[in-house]
Amino acid sequence: MACVLEAPLRMSVLSEVTASSRHYVDRLFDPDPQKVLQGVIDMKNAVIGNNKQKANLIVLGAVPRLLYLLQQETSSTELRTECAVVLGSLAMGTENNVKSLLDCHIIPALLQGLLSPDLKFIEACLRCLRTIFTSPVTPEELLYTGPDHQTILFNHGAVQNIAHLLVSTSYKVQMQALKCFSVLAFENPQVSMTLVNVLVDGELLPQIFVKMLQRDKPIEMQLTSAKCLTYMCRAGAIRTDDNCIVLKTLPCLVRMCSKERLLEERVEGAETLAYLIETDVELQRIASITDHLIAMLADYFKYPSSVSAITDIKRLDHDLKHAHELRQAAFKLYASLGANDEDIRKKIIETENMMDRIVNGLSESSIKVRLAAVRCLHSLSRSVQQLRTSFQDHAVWKPLMKVLQNAPDEILVVASSTLCNLLLEFSPSKEPILESGAVELLCSLTQSENLALRVNGIWALMNMAFQAEQKIKSDILRGLSTEQLFQLLSDSDVNVLMKTLGLLRNLLSTRPHIDHIMSSHGKQIMQAVTLILEGEHNIEVKEQTLCILANIADGTTAKELIMTNDDILQKIKYYMSHSNAKLQLAAMFCISNLVWNEEEGSQERQDKLRDMGIVDILHKLSQSSDPNLCDKAKTALQQYLA
């Protein structure tokens, strides 16, 4: 038991530990549960009002043992209750006591205790929790983190119990209730769905929140109720076109971004608004025209202002503290605003010094700002026009490539996503990015543990290979190595698999490239293709694979790899009669390429395929009701006639 081992070590440091303290702790380990109970009760009486005794007991390791007893199913309810009382008493002492309790993970143990059927025990746990949470050293998030705690609170009727506090006459009570709802509803559809239907004094909760949004209410209240409505909306409980979102919540959050608000409020307002409109283009459009929001956000970058530096040191300090927060909030909101609408993106980029700000943001020391700046860039990089113009003018790719070096995963994910867009074939940045060693970087991403990074890495490579010249293709193949390529083809994630197949397909385009690659990697590729066609994959994957085969069949020398592989030919034949038209069509492409007349050795290939019974299938397909299939079959048959 770790706690016992730990105790003597600390004892040597602390000379003042009395024998009696030691005695109390020892009794907790007595095999007789009745004696343990008496020991806990004695301990309770000993620590009340005695800070020194409390400190001694903590040093001697009483806390882990008490927690152990409290959590043990075999402990009597009485014992568990007494343990909670003693812990509560310990928490009443100095801030260090509370810290020690927190270090021993007391919170989950007490929260678990709330599930007990015994009221006295629950009360003791609650008292203890209350003492701990009223201490300034306790981070509030401990209570409200994650869906687990939301669910525990929800299951214990938190919603109904807190709801009536919203109409309290005390502002403080109202605010606490409101804050509580905002944490309960966050990303929690279950809670949010319940909240929309809760009635308080004959009014639905959303209506009460809307009232709290009114402009004559204190800013804190407006902001927090806007958060509640935002979270309920994002959790799917309120429609995005509901008037309470469109005409109330959104305008309120935009107001929170205005210059008149405190810096903290502006940060929170912008972040919440960014979250609200993130996935809804209509809300993005409305926000973009409301109160000149896009221009208003430009002001977020002007801290600390030159004025504040001159006027007073205190203000400068305050501004400096918030400057990072403001910048990252603005970037986040820009990212949300520009997520879908081309006109909005244009407006954002036309904002004064916007691209410079993003470029600067990419190299800021604060990870938060860097991440938000990359997000913003990512959002804007969805614009074809901007990729060709401002992205090029500001050589955005340079700092982006820099961000990609040694960045934490969360930044890498967004940055590599952005890179995918910058590598699209029409992007003028493609060339310089390649020259700066992107292939190597992306190849290394494909080996990441992080799934999103693997997807983005291979995706970017796929874009890179699209209609690329021979050298780039060779570079990619070399950089990736065949082992890695096959590793990716057997990736458990279908997205990775699809993009890898896409990469293969892009690599295997134009005849000389096909022949070149197949001459060096033919064997492995054919193996991989066989494997996938035999494996349990969805239609899209198989279709993509058949398309790769069709590309191989288009090669001059590569053709032979198929023609000499009876196994593959049988598979193609099988897919020609598959129930899925897409797969049939893809298989037909292969056949069509194989039987094409003008090419060398077409006669032999035609004969071989006829012998396999392909022609019969083609005749059947030429009667198909699917016009695509029908056409394709007829074209293939014509090759035989010529």
């Binding site: 402009r215 004559d216 409305i286 025209i289 109160d291």
Partner: protein
């Protein structure tokens, strides 16, 4: 320039040719009608008339630009009123739209604007109107905004000096300039554009479909008119000056400003030294109590706030006694008591004496004056008691809003037992009385201060205070404190009853009538003597004439001059007498509290006249809880 006023078009639809042409239409803040200045006089055509349309052209067809003077049709069965070769009004059911008629609409010269008949008054604080784009017409060159008087109406708003507009085709704002600034989105058919003028900070912002687009103009001059301009054929708009609900939540915006202004008032720096402000307030309260003769309350208040009462207690009680007599309609006794207590007062103020006597005459007619009562005339009980009126500052029988505080202060001083039962007796008394409401009709009559609303609860409470004080003060308890505090509701009912039974002159006694007539002759003589000594006095003359007029009617109470008999008319007399007595003691004629309130009201009025918009969100009433 011709003014066309179109009012009540709905009622007048069948007779629409008769719509008057006037040059002084009246409009208030929300009361804008569809009134337009005809901006372009038809060059070679007579004054356009009104065209009845029984049937329609295609439902949303635009008029072809070459067919001039063809009324524009939007709906079935509408009536079209051509304002000029360029503009018309279309009436459809309850709707009325403004439409652009013909012309090429290619150059700015083809533009035509209309503006509301009245400028936006600064006193409204925040002004808002919305325009719905019914149709964008050919090119949607529409401008919505503001302009000063005298601005050329052949142009879209915003292009000229003192003209401001937001244009639909490019979404730009035009601030007295031919070139616009990028401002907001474009707008087109189906959009509702709002224009909000903030007269507190002199800015303007627009809204589109309920969403605020941000500040468009700052430093706006005063006296701007809502203006709409149209340029290309087929453009149709419909304005909403508040007759329909707005799309934008303007109420919420106003709430914000109300809160801001009130916070500004609340935070206004007062009294730099500690306690100074409080002392001043206490002095004001104390002087108010003393002025109206609430001696017990005043004493209690002075005790608990460590103040000295400027006037002697006996003097306050004397004044109170006189006031109560006046308010009970017992003028003869009141005059007598005044003469006893303040021997030279009425001698020095013959006009006051005259006024008192005229009132005495009226009370005789009423049957309440002691001289006629003692003659055995039956007097309805109700008229003994002074009924509670809903309004207050000049009358001692009523307490203003701070009456509650006085109570709580007194209570905290230890006399709580005296007050313990008041809550219940209050509710039995005046508050629950329905007749009280009918009584409110007289409340707009004469007071030195125009404070229209007072809390009924406080009113009845002050009565309680009086009945409480009756322990210390020797007073006419039998018909004052009892009468009002406990039976006032009965009193009202009696009065209602007696009016139904038809009240009788001088209480119905013949002797009393003779006494009254005799008194009238004396009054006439006194009036003549006064004129000889002091010269003509029109006020006195009118007063006497009005009083005598009562005798011309068989039922004076329901006669045109009958309101003189209303007990509420005792208040001004009472107030004048009280002030006169106070003046002889070198005390102010009016309590400082009333003066301060008057000052504040005047100040707000001055702000409104000077175009300071914030006055819209502050009223004296807000601070009389």
């Amino acid at each position: 320039m011709i003014w066309i006023q179109v009012e009540h078009y709905k009622q007048k639809k069948s007779n629409i040719r008769n719509i008057p042409v006037s040059d002084s239409p009246g409009a208030t803040r929300r009361g804008y009608m569809w009134q337009y200045i005809l901006c372009k006089k038809a060059p070679h055509s007579p004054l356009p008339g009104f065209h009845h349309q029984a049937s329609t052209i295609a439902s949303t067809a635009m008029p072809p630009s070459h067919r001039s003077h063809v009324p524009f049709m939007v709906y079935d069965f509408c009536i079209c009123c051509i304002l000029s070769p360029l503009l018309c009004l279309v009436f459809c059911g309850e709707e009325c739209c403004l439409g652009r008629l013909t012309g090429h609409g290619k150059t700015p010269k083809d533009a035509a604007s209309v503006r509301a008949t009245h400028p936006i008054p600064a006193a409204c604080g925040i002004y808002y109107f919305e325009v719905k784009i019914v149709s964008k017409g050919r090119d949607g060159y529409m401008g919505i905004g503001l302009s000063a008087q005298g601005v050329n109406m052949n142009r879209l708003p915003g292009w000229d000096k003192h003209s401001y507009g937001y244009h639909g085709d490019d979404g730009h704002s035009f601030c007295s300039s031919g070139t616009g600034q990028p401002y907001g989105p474009t707008f087109t058919t189906g959009d509702v554009i709002g224009c909000c003028v903030n007269l507190i900070n002199n800015t303007c912002f627009y809204t589109k479909n309920g969403h605020s687009l941000g500040i468009a103009f700052t430093d706006l001059p005063p006296n701007l008119y809502p203006t709409v301009g149209l340029q290309t054929p087929g453009e149709v708009v419909d304005a909403n000056f508040g007759q329909h609900p707005f799309v934008f939540d303007i109420e919420d915006y106003m709430r914000e400003w109300r809160t801001k202004i009130q916070a500004q008032i609340d935070r206004f720096p007062i009294g730099d030294r500690e306690g100074e402000w409080q002392t001043m307030i206490q002095k004001m309260v104390s002087s108010y109590l003393v002025h109206h003769g609430y001696c017990a309350t005043a004493e209690a208040f002075a005790r608990s706030t460590d103040q000295t009462v400027l006037e002697e207690l006996a003097s306050i009680k004397n004044r109170q006694r006189i006031q109560k007599l006046v308010l009970a309609g017992r003028m003869g006794e009141a005059i007598e008591t005044t003469q006893q207590l303040y021997p030279s007062l009425l001698e020095r103020n013959p006009n006051l004496l005259f006024a008192l006597k005229v009132r005495q005459f009226i009370e005789m007619v009423n049957g309440t004056d002691s001289e006629v009562r003692c003659l055995g005339g039956h007097s309805p009980k109700s008229q003994d008691s002074y009924p509670v009126s809903p309004r207050s500052f000049s009358s001692p029988s009523m307490s203003p809003s701070h009456g509650m505080n006085i109570h709580s202060l007194a209570t905290s001083k230890g006399s709580s037992t005296h007050f313990s039962g008041y809550e219940s007796s209050c509710s039995n008394g005046v508050i629950s009385n329905k007749a009280h409401q009918s009584y409110c009709h007289s409340k707009h009559q004469s007071t030195s201060l125009n404070v229209p609303e007072l809390n009924n609860i406080n009113v009845s409470r002050s009565q309680q205070a009086n009945s409480y004080s009756s322990n210390d003060v020797d007073m006419e308890t039998e018909h004052y404190s009892n009468g009002v505090a406990e039976t006032s509701s009965n009193g009202f009912l009696n009065e209602v009853d007696s009016s139904q039974l038809r009240r009788q002159l001088c209480g119905g006694s013949q002797a009393a009538i003779e006494r009254m007539i005799h008194f009238g002759r004396e009054l006439q003589a006194m009036s003549e003597q006064l004129r000889r000594e002091c010269g003509k006095n029109t006020a006195n003359k009118k007063m006497l004439k009005d009083a005598f007029s009562l005798l011309a009617y068989s039922d004076p109470w329901s006669s045109p001059v009958g309101n003189q008999l209303d007990p509420i008319q005792r208040e001004p007399v009472c107030s004048v007498l009280n002030s006169a007595i106070l003046e002889t003691h070198n005390l102010p004629k009016q309590p400082p509290l009333a003066l301060a309130m008057g000052q504040a009201s005047q100040c707000l009025g001055l702000m409104a006249r000077s175009g300071i918009g914030s006055c819209a969100f502050a009223t004296v009433e807000d601070y009389l809880h």
